[in-house]
């Protein structure tokens, strides 16, 4: 009994560390659950899988010896140089520079080819020498290949990035905008590039860039460069259509907001609604105001429509650094500190910057518009990630933006 209680005390004080979920690695033997047909197919595909795996590893610069990959890269470069002559190279240094380049190119091309063939031969011979792979091994290899392909896909997914909308209302941008982006990226910028860079250099650049793109270093470089706001601004300026109205700091005032969002106002004949409105809620302020107003304008009481409009202003904030506080400063291309959702001409919603709720409240309302509520109603902060994808109610180190809604109603007679 005594020892039992002691044990209990100990277990209460001692904390236990949870373990990570292993997605891969040791698995129950697959032999029983796999049909012989699939097993034999996998077995035959094993060398091919190895080849693909190695190829992917080389593309992703994962091999232990980075120097070897670099040598391959240099050989590729030299081989390309044979096919795509370098126009800018000064040839007067040596009359036989061309011949030399040709020779080196052929040598490196041969080296590449021979390396590849040698690898295949040595692969086959080593497979023959060693014991055949277990099914687990094959599956692990298959997973490895798939994992690598998945990474490549994620890193390469330009289409997804192109379609990504920045204003954050919907995840995808409109087709028109997509077309604009494609046009911009695909043609206009290309023409500019072609003007200043030769075709050869352009092709070489793309081949080499493609070969190093998946290395850890380049990926890390991209991410590090992405930290600089000028880079992001440039990227989004280039990808966005030319309608830069959002960029301009003209913030909508009350009059503009009302005129832009008038369509959403609810319009009802006052005669029908008024008695029902007045029935139960004697005490509320706005009803009283309404009564007062109605008393003033008894004459044309019958013809009047009551328009009720709810304005919803979003307050947005961004955290620029994990350890810092929330800031009202936002990136120029995204939604601004106070913004309002407005229907665009093509029917989609866009975010427009507007004055702060305080400023809006102090503003004089246009003719015959009156506030119903005395003040703005606010919701709690909703936290989201860097691209305004909602995460939840609570701030965590994952959250970089947050927004809350201020609503206030007004009416028009």
């Amino acid at each position: 009994m005594d020892t039992n209680s002691k044990f209990k005390v100990q277990s209460e004080h001692k904390k236990i560390q949870a373990k990570f979920i292993h997605n891969h690695g040791q698995k129950p033997s697959l032999i029983q659950v796999t049909s012989p047909m699939i097993s034999s197919t996998l077995f035959h595909a094993y060398p091919l899988l190895l080849l693909i795996d190695n190829l992917l590893a080389n593309i992703m610069w994962l091999s232990d010896d980075k120097c070897l990959t670099f040598i391959y890269l240099a050989s590729v470069w030299l081989t390309i140089n044979v096919f795509i002559p370098n126009e800018t190279e000064v040839n007067h240094i040596l009359p036989y520079a061309k011949i030399l380049r040709l020779w080196i190119g052929i040598i490196s091309g041969a080296f590449l080819f021979l390396s590849f063939m040698y690898y295949i031969v040595s692969l086959i011979s080593s497979l023959e020498d060693t014991e055949p792979p277990t099914l687990d091994e094959i599956v692990v290899l298959l997973e490895s290949v798939l994992g690598k392909l998945e990474v490549l896909k994620n890193e390469l997914n330009v289409w997804k990035k192109l379609k990504l909308s920045i204003n954050g209302v919907s995840e995808k941008c409109s087709n028109k905008r997509l077309f604009c982006r494609l046009f911009l990226l695909g043609t206009i910028s290309q023409i500019f590039i072609m003007r200043y860079i030769s075709v050869g250099a352009y092709v070489r650049f793309f081949i080499i860039a493609g070969l190093v793109y998946h290395s850890t270093s380049v990926q890390a470089t991209l991410r590090l460069l992405w930290r600089f706001t000028p880079v992001r601004n440039f990227y989004h300026l280039g990808f966005k259509s030319f309608t830069t109205s959002n960029w301009l700091p003209n913030r909508l005032n009350m009059e503009q907001i009302i005129s832009l969002s008038q369509e959403e106002a609810i319009t009802v004949p006052l005669v029908d609604v008024l008695p029902r409105l007045l029935q139960d809620r004697e005490g509320e302020d706005h009803i009283r105001i309404l009564q007062l107003l109605l008393n003033e304008q008894k004459d044309n009481f019958d013809n009047q429509d009551l328009k009720i409009l709810e304005i919803e202003v979003q307050e947005n904030q961004r955290k620029w650094h994990r350890s810092k506080n929330w800031s009202t400063q936002l990136l120029p291309y995204e939604r601004q500190n106070f913004s309002i959702e407005i229907k665009d001409t093509d029917g989609s919603f866009i975010m427009k910057s507007c004055l702060s709720t305080k400023e809006l409240g102090e503003e004089d309302l246009p003719d015959n518009w009156r506030w119903i509520n005395d003040d703005w109603d606010e919701t709690d902060w909703v936290y989201s990630d860097s691209v305004w994808k909602e995460i939840g109610q609570y701030s965590s180190s994952e959250c970089f933006t947050r927004s809350r809604r201020w609503t206030r109603r007004l009416f028009h007679l």
Partner: protein, 580 residues
Amino acid sequence: MSETSSSRRSASKDAVRSYFAGKYNKVLDSILEAEAAISKSPNIAENLSEGSASGNSEMSHSSLATSSATSQGISKKELLQQIAGSLFSTSIERLKTSHSSDTSDLPEYSANSPYEEQECSECDAHFKCSAHFEKAADYYEDETELEPALEPTTSNSEKDPFIDVFLDKLISRLVPEKLPEREHFSSNTTIEHDLDTERVPVFSATTLGSNFKKLSKKMGSIFELQDSIVRLLTWRNPTGTVTALILFTLICFNPMYLIIFPVFRFIYGIVVPGYVRKHPLQRSIYPLKRNHGSSLLYDVCYEGKNEYSCGQQFFSKSFMDTLESRNQEMEEISELDKKPENTRELKQGMKVLINLRDMQDMTSGTLHVIDAINIFLGNSASFQNEEYSTKRFFAGFLLVVFLKILSPLMNWSYVCSVSAWCLLIYMHPRAHLKIVDFFKRGKMGKEYKELKKRENQTHNMIFDETPEIRYIEIFEIYRKGLLPDEWRFFRFSNRIFDPQDPYRRAQQFPPGVDSLADVTPPPHWTFDPNFSWKIDSDVHGWVIERGLNLPVTGDFLFDPMFKRRRLIHRVIKRASPVSQ
């Protein structure tokens, strides 16, 4: 496991201890030698003791003690050895515990100092007797037995253990306080500069020792760099070598890369890995258990030994580190057998030892290189072997002319890169043999030609410079006999032996021989065989040259006691080694 590690640890410690013991003994030996040398010339020793007596009292005690000990019949050297031996043994004892905290040793040394101050009743106030010193030795031995966990000598001057202070003072006594600058040795100018004591550092054994200790810890990275360069040059890392060659070629064609590569290396070798460690790229890739196939380049370089291609480590460690699960496992494992003290100490000890060994290798290598350079310079420049040196000169001259003419036609980019590639391919262990074989095979046919060429070459050069000719003199001196005209042959001398001669004034015989056969020419000179001793008949000539005012009769120059005549001989300079 633990047993073997502890034994290894103790072994490494023994090695460290023996190293330090050796070091101290060497210092001791040198000090003793210096002391012995100084004691031979008593003036210097006195000066030194005077000069340093003002500086430190305890040292003057010991020096006086040693001088008095000699008078008592005990060997000074023995005594010093006794004292210092006991002191060194204590200092070595201190090395027993090498990796504990530093703070404990301060009070112990302060406890030592009163003992220094107190004086032995048996001996004089100014020095201590040998018994006193033995006592001192006992005292320290006792102390080490009582306190075995003492620190090794630390570099901090506040915590200087007694032994270091002792050594410092001893050396500062033996060595002049103001050491001259190096330039005073090299330049011939005799201008005396004021020695700026603040600028000129005083020699101190403690500083030297601590510097060496620090260096041996911190030289690791330098040696690693050296080792990696050696590995590159010897093709032990073939892809690395090829990569280095490619980079070198790029630098040759565009020297801007000299700046670009270090920056690139900094960015992608240090900054980006740091970023990746902190913000892992979420790439769900994991390594395979084994790999098949091998790379052509490796197999060519390794002669199909497949050292790397068997694929235990195909995937990089840095990549492995990104795998969180792996990391977790590793952490668990490392937590399980966490004996950091042992392993760390062992590692540290081994590291220091390896560094010391490398340092030793480096110094001996430097010495070898210097020796080799000296030998080469001596051989080619000294004209010991006339033909060899002449050939070297001629080759050098031709080379200068040729290179000067060639220089405007050179394309340095191509030359540098191609020569680097050729050199490294030549240095490749397998290729080297084949290249050497190839050239040898080419040479076989040429051997006859070579022989013919050599025959011709023997008649290419002619060494017919006329040798240097000079004349030597010897004086044939006669002594006056009892009779007025009696002159008896006295001796052949190289001195005139006139009344002003120092030998004569000192009433000594001049240096001389009885027969001309015993006269030898000056070193590196030989007598001209076609010339015999000749009496110089132009007496007035050599008398006037020497400004002697003595009577001359015939071939002789007279004075009251002696007469002499000059014999001359022709000598030829031997083709002898130029003394360096």
